[in-house]
């Protein structure tokens, strides 16, 4: 990126005064502004100066000044979020400020080598501003002029990086730390994330759907990636056999935390009252346990997930646009995801679901909205899934259905 056109301002400093923004350099929390300013002063990139000037102007007028556009790399239709300034007359240096969304490694695990490479390529072609990470899970490189996009991408692509989703496409996935470090992980979130997104990579890059489609991968019902609310298809780990109880460790726990804590914080907090106190230990009635994770969370050492592990698929999560926030609904209570065959079957099911959605959805209608509109029954029929009592909180409370015989 060119840094030619970068005269210092009247104060002898590279950056223009940003008195309102500067307030955000105070206080103990790391300041994005300090970072940006240092970067700008070091690299003398005028784009950053322009962006800061425009941001200062936004803080003053309380309005935003970006508009979208269309920039992409060869063969892809998505992955670049294009931004042109609406006040180029006032602040020409912020004319362009496009973002490249990169798909990071599942679980957001990095080595320093790959990151240093990334920084070097990015500093060469773009602003040097990095967002780690976007809410969907992308590693976002923010601030590239259109002319540098292809070259920057090619260099990154050579190093193993690829663009993420945007628009009416499959979006970049997100997965929790999973088996990499978490003892609660019921399936290999990293692997399933990787295989699924790899399989659908064409649909990530070339938007051709009624609307966006997001996958998120949580290793257990604690749902550390918020998959239930933030993904159209949530993969949430669970287990079919009983919780493992090590009553010797329960005893240790009680010694440390007290019997009242066991009663108040574990037994009484079980949503289905599946736990009973038995002497100095506890007993869990397996058929009452709904796999909420709470007791395991509190007593990590004494209790652990079962051995017959897999995942549930919940569908329809999304933010509140038009219909109010929707949480994903239980659609596939349990599926194995261990062997390659398991994962192939899973992907085959996902394909059926995506195809059904693509065929049935209105424009700008998310999967959950489509299911709601046509009814869960029609959806199940369409994707050839059996009804299951776990799909609902309760059977219907109205007689308004087409009975079948």
């Amino acid at each position: 990126m060119s840094t030619k056109d970068n005269p210092s301002n009247s104060n002898g400093k590279f950056l223009n005064p940003t008195p309102i923004l500067d307030d955000l350099e105070k206080g103990p929390w790391p300041s994005f502004l300090t970072g940006f300013k240092k970067l700008a002063e070091r690299t003398k990139k005028t784009m950053i100066r322009g962006v800061l000037d425009q941001l200062e102007y936004s803080y003053k007028t309380k309005m935003g000044y970006w508009k979208g556009g269309l920039v992409s790399v060869v063969g892809y239709g998505a992955g670049i979020i294009t931004r042109y300034s609406l006040i180029q007359d006032k602040i020409p240096e912020a004319k362009e400020f496009h973002t490249m969304r990169l798909q990071p490694p599942p679980g957001l695990h990095y080595n320093t080598k790959m990151l240093r490479e990334l920084c070097d390529i990015w500093e060469k072609h773009g602003s040097g501003i990095v967002c780690m990470h976007g809410q969907t899970g992308d590693l976002m490189l923010q601030g590239v002029p259109e002319q540098n996009v292809q070259e920057c991408f090619d260099e990154l692509n050579r190093k193993g990086w690829d663009l993420g989703g945007a628009g009416a496409s499959v979006r970049t996935g997100a997965s929790c730390v999973g088996p990499a470090r978490c003892d609660d992980s019921c399936y290999d979130t990293l692997k399933v994330h990787y295989e699924v997104l790899k399989h659908f990579t064409g649909l990530v890059h070339r938007p051709e759907f009624p609307y966006k489609l997001k996958f998120k991968f949580a290793g257990c019902p604690n749902d550390c990636v918020n998959s239930i609310m933030r993904s159209d298809i949530a993969f949430i780990g669970t287990f079919r056999d009983a919780i493992k109880v090590d009553n010797a460790e329960v005893k240790n726990w009680v010694q440390k935390n007290g019997m009242d804590s066991l009663v108040n914080n574990v037994i009484n907090r079980c949503p289905t009252k599946a736990i009973t106190l038995k002497g100095e230990g506890i007993e869990i009635e397996d058929k009452d346990c709904v796999r909420c994770m709470h007791c395991i969370n509190v007593m990590s050492k004494a209790l652990s997930i079962g051995s017959d592990k897999g995942l549930s698929l919940l569908m329809g999560g999304k933010s509140h646009l038009k219909v109010g926030s929707m949480l994903g609904s239980m659609i596939v209570p349990f599926v194995k995801a261990e062997t390659d065959e398991d994962i192939e079957n899973l992907i085959e099911l996902l394909e059926r679901i995506i195809e059904w959605w693509d065929d049935n959805a209105f424009d700008h209608e998310r999967l959950g909205e489509t299911i709601e509109r046509v009814s869960l029954k029609e959806f199940l029929k369409g994707v050839e899934l059996e009804p299951d009592i776990n799909m609902v909180n309760t059977p219907r409370d109205n007689p308004y259905f087409k009975a079948e015989f």
Binding site: F32, N111, N222, C270
Partner: protein, 361 residues
């Protein structure tokens, strides 16, 4: 042939970066899927114990999310020094460095703090806030995100560093009514208070009219002619200022420096622990959009947090605390006031009504 098409390099459609390509710390790799239990020895530090007996310490630190190559390189330096050259980020823009050597935790923490990355955010702290784009980059924001997050975290620093809350606390921000950062224990979201003003100059040129009409959830937009040209109009009686049309078409100008206000939502919960996941509820609105520090918003957030800190029981998430004490007492304890606009009026409104004689005096 365009310049692009002339290039020789052929893209490889990798998909996600291949995590198998040496992204995992060696102890992680060795014990992959074989962890036994974990603990939170102190704020900012996690310990994971593997079936093999291996023990891994993780130190978590906050970042501004909107960072720079310089920040990333600094973190790389620290990872090389303390963490065998590996690090990870959390879904909440915290960075994590790992060590198997308990004795080096203090040095690692000191280095992180020194480099400007405060250590904390684990267990029952208030962790880093979900962050969106705002005026920095988005095309539809009514407020900023980087500034909101910074000003809130400045005030919540003690809670980030100390695990003193009844349970985990997650906050989120949304710089337009869409709220890209999802729901949370407490969320700060734009709420407009006037219908969009229509820019008839640009409307027909920039947008597909039927698409805009279809976007309105309450069918408040209808075709019309302005000065002979096809355009749209908004039936003000129906419009509830949601801004959905603005996302479809920038000529439906919903943002306004004064009339775009801030609302506060509480009780969002995505985890399945104990209670089922729950959608957050709106408990304050009409707060001014007041950069660079949004003091009115921060006060409400803090009032809620402090009432919860005082009243919540162990392992009780914010929404669970409210359910236990009841919404009436929630408003009393936080000093907020319930008003008629907090009564649902949308499609499922009926399901929120108190269809019982249960009552609190």
């Amino acid at each position: 042939m365009t310049e692009k098409a002339k290039r020789e390099y052929k893209t490889v459609e990798h998909g996600p970066y291949d995590y198998r390509n040496d992204t995992l710390h060696p102890v992680v790799l060795k014990n992959y899927g074989k962890w036994k239990h974990h603990d939170n020895p102190r704020p900012g530090v996690l310990v994971s114990v593997a079936e093999s007996g291996d023990v891994l310490y993780t130190v978590r630190a906050g970042t501004a999310r909107q960072i720079t190559v310089d920040n990333v390189r600094t973190l790389c330096d620290l990872a090389d020094k303390h963490s065998e050259g590996y690090m990870r980020f959390t879904v909440r823009n915290n960075v994590e460095l790992m060590t198997t050597d308990e004795s080096r935790i203090d040095a690692l923490i000191a280095d992180l703090e020194q480099a400007g990355f405060p250590v904390g955010g684990t267990s029952n702290t208030v962790t880093n806030i979900h962050h969106t784009q705002g005026w920095l980059h988005c095309d539809i924001p009514a407020t900023d995100a980087s500034g909101v997050v910074k000003s809130m975290m400045d005030e919540l620093m003690h809670e980030f560093r100390h695990a003193e809350m009844p349970a985990k606390v997650r906050l989120s921000t949304g710089c337009c009514a869409i709220n890209c950062s999802g729901q949370a224990d407490i969320a700060v979201i734009v709420k407009h208070t006037r219908p969009p003003r229509i820019n008839h100059e640009t409307l027909a040129k920039t947008c597909e009219l039927p698409k805009v009409v279809a976007r309105c959830p309450v069918a408040a937009i209808r075709p019309t002619r302005v000065d002979g040209r096809l355009s749209l109009e908004v039936v003000e009686e129906k419009c509830m200022y949601c801004g959905a049309c603005f996302g479809a078409c920038p000529s439906m100008e919903i943002n306004h420096p004064e009339h775009s206000k801030i609302a506060i939502w509480v009780g969002g919960k995505n985890s399945n622990a104990r209670t089922k996941p729950a959608i957050m509820k709106m408990v304050a609105h009409g707060l001014p959009n007041n950069p660079p520090r949004w003091p009115e918003v921060n006060k409400v957030v803090k009032d809620i947090l402090m009432a919860y800190k005082k009243g919540g029981r162990p392992y009780e998430r914010l929404g669970e605390w409210i359910e236990r004490i009841g919404w009436k007492r929630f408003f009393e304890e936080t000093g907020l006031s319930f008003d008629v606009d907090m009564i649902d009026s949308y499609r499922m409104a009926r399901t929120t009504f108190n269809k019982s004689a249960h009552i609190r005096f």
